[in-house]
Amino acid sequence: MSQSILEVREMSKTYPGVQALKKVQLEVREGEVHALIGENGAGKSTLIKILAGVEHADEGSVFLFEGKPANIQKPIDATLKGISIIYQDLSLFPNLSVAENICKGRKSNKRGFGMVNWNEMRAVAKKTLAELGFDIDVDVPLERLSIAKQQLVAIARAIAFEAKLIIMDEPTSSLSSSEVELLYKVIEDLKRKNISILFISHKMEELFTVADRFTVLRDGEFVGTFKKQELNEDKLISLMVGRALEVVEREETVQGKEMLEIKGLSKKGNFKDIEFTLHQGEVVSITGLVGSGRTELAHAIFGLERYESGSITLDGEVLNIKSSEQAVKKGIAYVPESRQKEGLVLQQSIVKNISLSILKKLTNKFGSIQEQKELTLANKYISTLDIRPNIPFLNTGNMSGGNQQKVVIAKWLSTSPKVLIVDEPTNGIDIGAKREIHKLLRRLANQGMAILVISSDLSEVLAVSDRILVMRKGRIAGELPHHEANQEKIMNLAVLGTHLEEKLPVGSESKGAVNL
């Protein structure tokens, strides 16, 4: 029974108007992986912000690190004490070298006269990366690395600071399954080094893989801390949500006529020979590893990027789309990967965000916008999609992830598209909201929309899709109908490009996908 390294009691945090944390407690033991979970807005980030010294807890909160009061004023205090945070946005320096990113803030890179000790810095960085088994050049500027590699640098940084507790806020949200596997390995090594990890995630299966104990928050309140053995997914969910969630009903949808047909679509350096058909009333998922080219494919279909060869046929008409403008006109909608970066105008209201896609339809004959129509439209979706808070003029920047995503979807539904493409629709969204969105997608399919889901979240893929296409290195490695599909089969295709049972060469397999 290892003793506790972090102990938090009676921890409260009030923001003007919001009590983000109410007398929360949390205890992390040496060398354990401790999951901190809760719905969007439950207070997870707030809690870790306090641990990190970004925010300060209210009076009367107790915060012990290694048994002593932590009194952390600035983020760097926490880092130097041995609490390292890997933020969702990684929070590194794109313009600086890997070495510097790893060592920034360490006393020992300073020479006399405020000089930097480059040799020391590079040495430390090299050493740390080596012992973690990451193969990354310490001299390249960070911006040259893929997101996954950047995450590894962030971890290396934590190790370089001899972190005793590493906090990871949704570390897998921008990682692919294989990279997640790597992360698990790293976490195991860290545990062996007797380093504790506080792990925040919305993805059930990964929580149950890595975490030893769970602390659940709900609306800023402490629900409880549980051993993995005491829990199962449903129990955990009901703890988080405060009620049991009904599962998405998966009654078969009636497959309508061919809506979207992709033939031999290729783009140098992104994807090759993509072929598949999407019918009215069905949900097809494309899954695979990060960087397998799915988003690029979606972009190509939506006219955001050129493709070199192949054809896209929508509802019998061969398309030659050059811009998203035309795509929208034709009836294709694309809910992008990042709702905040690509989806919303955060400083604008729900109304203006929803109406943006069809402004021209809301104008009178003099081409001037009718604000009344705009409002009616917004209210319609606020109620049908149950967007909360239901304040039409609220700036979307002040909504939780789930509801932001609903606004983006609403924006696209308002264009009444024939084909709806959603890219990572539930990234960073809590389980409750996630299920709602899955239900929504099924419902839309039932209403006869053709839906293409791009997702790295296998449970999601399995939950929503009628058929699953697996992409690997820019090609479609294979297809699985949902009743045959399971995680192993998908991973196998994604990583090796072969079906678990019959081992067919990739080429013929993707051919197979066509003549369905």
């Binding site: 923001y15 719905e39 969007n40 690509e342 989806g343 943006l356 909360r388 789930g402």
Partner: protein
């Protein structure tokens, strides 16, 4: 309807009013119809340019070449009126050409910025230098004075409606139309959305290239109008009487509460900003304040007004994050 105190323009409005009151007390000559009209007339060029610059700044851009463009247009006008002589019709053609020339300059800016993706501040720096160079070449730095301008033009310059100079009307019409464009026309919304988040704007099928080109072309077009107004106000043309004016224009817009980072800005605010600068110039003289101190005052007001804006924005953000977030 929001409370007035919550209106974005409240801060700057307050400053204008306070300054106005102070000056009225200090000098009887200040708060008179005549003087107010003088202020408006004297600042119609600034106002027109600031209105255009508001759109540019909303898109997160900046146009350093406004002054150069306006100067260029005035020179074009001077050349044309002399050639084409008098006559209402020829005068009209001159105006049309002037506006087109302005629009062309703007178009070039727009294309350079939207297509080559050079940061606007740099692009417009380049075009500014080029345009003023060419202007100087064409005009050979010679100025034109009223005696060289056709009678018709002078008549236009002096034309009044209900005792109010036509130049003031031109200014106000430009402002009102642009306000309408921003609030009720789709292009206006596209501009605001683009300013708020270019990627999202692009994703929903807004042709962002078009939006940028439009904004800078519109800026150029207004520079064309400003050129006409300037020539009419001066009843003459000074090829390099405008150097450095772009900064004043930007100041007016920023005073009006537009966010230099893009995404927000309002015509009403910009009008108030213009008015503020105008009132200061005028009032400080009436208040017999030493010419040297006038600049200092202007600088101070800019800092005060803007820091007020910034503080307000911060406070709002706080307020907004109060909204309870649930799922």
């Amino acid at each position: 309807m929001k409370k007035i105190t919550q209106q974005k323009e409240f801060g700057i409005g307050l400053v204008v009013i306070i300054l106005g009151v102070i000056l009225t007390v200090m000098s009887p000559a200040f708060f008179t119809t005549g003087n107010i009209l003088d202020i408006l007339k004297a600042n119609s060029v600034l106002g027109i340019l600031a209105v255009g610059m508001t759109l540019v700044i909303i898109t997160g851009g900046i146009d350093n070449s406004v002054a150069a463009m306006t100067a260029a247009v005035t020179v074009v006008i001077s050349k044309l009126v002399v050639v084409m002589g008098s006559g209402t019709l020829s005068l009209l053609t001159v105006f049309v050409i002037a506006i087109l020339v302005g629009a062309c300059f703007g178009l070039i800016n727009g294309i350079l910025i939207a297509v080559t993706k050079i940061p606007p501040i740099v692009t417009s720096l380049g075009t500014m230098t080029i345009i003023s160079g060419i202007t100087l070449y064409i005009s050979n730095g010679e100025y034109v004075n009223s005696s060289m301008l056709p009678a018709k033009f002078i008549a236009f310059a002096d034309y009044k409606i209900g005792g109010v100079s036509i130049l003031i009307f031109i200014f106000l019409i430009t402002a009102i139309f642009t306000w309408f464009l921003l609030k009720y026309l789709t292009v206006g919304r596209d501009i605001l959305s683009f300013g708020g988040n270019p990627t999202s704007a692009m994703r929903v099928g807004i042709n962002t290239t078009k939006v940028q080109i439009f904004v800078y072309t519109y800026m150029g077009l207004l520079a064309g109008i400003a050129g006409i107004v300037q020539t009419a106000y001066n009843k003459g043309v000074d090829p390099n009487g405008f150097s450095g004016f772009e900064l004043t224009v930007i100041a007016a817009v920023v005073l009006g509460g537009a966010n230099i980072m893009g995404g927000s800005g309002s015509i009403l605010g910009t009008l108030l900003g213009t008015l503020l600068l105008g009132i200061m110039q005028n009032g400080l003289i009436l208040a017999k304040i030493n010419t040297f101190w006038q600049e200092v005052f202007v600088g101070l007001i800019i800092l005060i007004a803007v820091s007020y804006e910034v503080l307000k924005r911060k406070r709002e953000e706080m307020k907004l994050s109060k909204v309870e977030i649930e799922v």
